[in-house]
C-alpha cells in the first residue's frame, strides 16, 4: 500500500514537472526569414520564407529554429529553381537549422524596447554545420517575446559553390534577416 502511494506520488511529481516544463517553452511556426544576396546594379537576388519554426526555452535560453528550404519564395521562377537545384540542393538537404543558447536571458526582465543578447550555437545549412555567435534582439510581445536580428554568411563556408558565370551577380556575403514572434 505504501509503495503504491509512493508510486502515485512519483507519477504526480513527473506530471507536474513535465507540465511546468512545457509551460516554459515559447514557440512559433510562422517565423520569418529573408535573405538578400544582391549586388549593386544587378538584379535583385532575395527571397522570403514565412513558415519558420522556432522554440525558445525560457528558463535556460535554449533556442532552436528550423527552416524548410523549399519554402523560400523568389520573385522569378528561374531564380527559385536555381536556388533549390544548383545551390542549396534542397532535394537532398531539405532544411537549415540553428540550435543554440541565448546567454543571460531572463524573460521576466524583458521590456518593450528590444535588448541585445548573444546567441551561441550551431548553424546548419546545406548539410554542413558551423559554430556561430549571433547578436539577437529580444523584446516583449503580447503573450511572449519577439526575437529578431540579422547576420551574414558566406556561401563557401557551407560548401555552396557559385559558378563563375554568375559570381559577379551574387554577393560574397549573404545577409539573413529573421523575425520570430514566440508565444506560449
Amino acid at each position: 500500500m505504501k509503495k503504491s502511494f509512493i508510486n502515485l506520488f512519483a507519477v504526480l511529481l513527473i506530471i507536474t514537472v513535465t507540465t511546468n516544463g512545457s509551460a516554459q517553452k515559447l514557440i512559433t511556426k510562422t517565423g520569418n526569414i529573408k535573405f538578400q544576396a544582391s549586388m549593386p546594379t544587378y538584379e535583385d537576388v532575395s527571397a522570403e520564407n514565412k513558415s519558420v519554426s522556432a522554440i525558445l526555452e525560457q528558463s535556460t535560453g535554449d533556442f532552436a529554429a528550423l527552416v524548410l528550404i523549399k519554402g523560400f519564395r523568389f520573385k522569378t521562377a528561374l531564380m527559385e529553381e536555381h536556388f533549390n537545384e544548383n545551390y542549396m540542393e534542397s532535394e537532398k538537404f531539405s532544411k537549415a537549422t540553428l540550435k543554440g543558447k541565448i546567454s543571460d536571458l531572463d524573460v521576466s526582465k524583458i521590456t518593450n524596447t528590444s535588448k541585445n543578447f548573444t546567441l551561441k550555437g550551431d548553424l546548419t545549412i546545406h548539410g554542413k554545420t558551423k559554430p556561430v555567435t549571433l547578436l539577437v534582439k529580444v523584446s516583449k510581445a503580447a503573450n511572449g517575446v519577439n526575437i529578431n536580428g540579422s547576420f551574414e554568411v558566406k556561401p563557401e563556408d557551407f560548401d555552396i559553390e557559385i559558378p563563375n558565370l554568375v559570381r559577379k551577380k551574387i554577393a560574397d556575403k549573404v545577409k539573413i534577416e529573421y523575425n520570430f514572434s514566440l508565444i506560449k
Binding site: A65, L66, L68, R73, F74, A77, L78, S90
Partner: protein, 134 residues
Amino acid sequence: MKRKKIAIVVAALLIAVSGGIYFYYGFLFKEARNIETEMPDFSITAAKLIEDYSSNPEKANSLYLNKTIELKGLVTKETDSVIVLENSVFCLFTQKITQKLLNNNTVVKGKCIGYDELFQEIKLDQCTINKQNN
C-alpha cells in the same frame, strides 16, 4: 519578287521578336509558381500523407517535396493564416482565412515544402481551400 523578299524579312523579324519576348518573360523572368492555379500532382487524405512521412520520411520527400498536393482531412487548429489538418499537417495560406473550418472536413491545396522535425509536422505553403465537404 521584291515584295516577296520584304514579306520574308518581316516574317523572320516577327518570329525573332516574339521568340525573344517569349524567352524574356516565359523563361528568364517568369513569375514564381502560383500553386493556386496549378493542378495537383497528388490528391490524397491528410492521414495518408502523415503515414507516408512517419514510415519513411526520405521516400515521402522524394515523392511529395515541392509538389502541389491536395489534401483532405479534419481541421484541428485554425488561426489567421494557418490551418492544421489531423494535428500534424501545417498549411500556411497566402491570404487570410475567412471561413470558419475548425472541426470540419476540408480539402486544402498547397505546395509540400517538407518535414519539420521540431514540431513533427509536415508543412505546406501557398495553400488555398478547394472545397468544403461537411
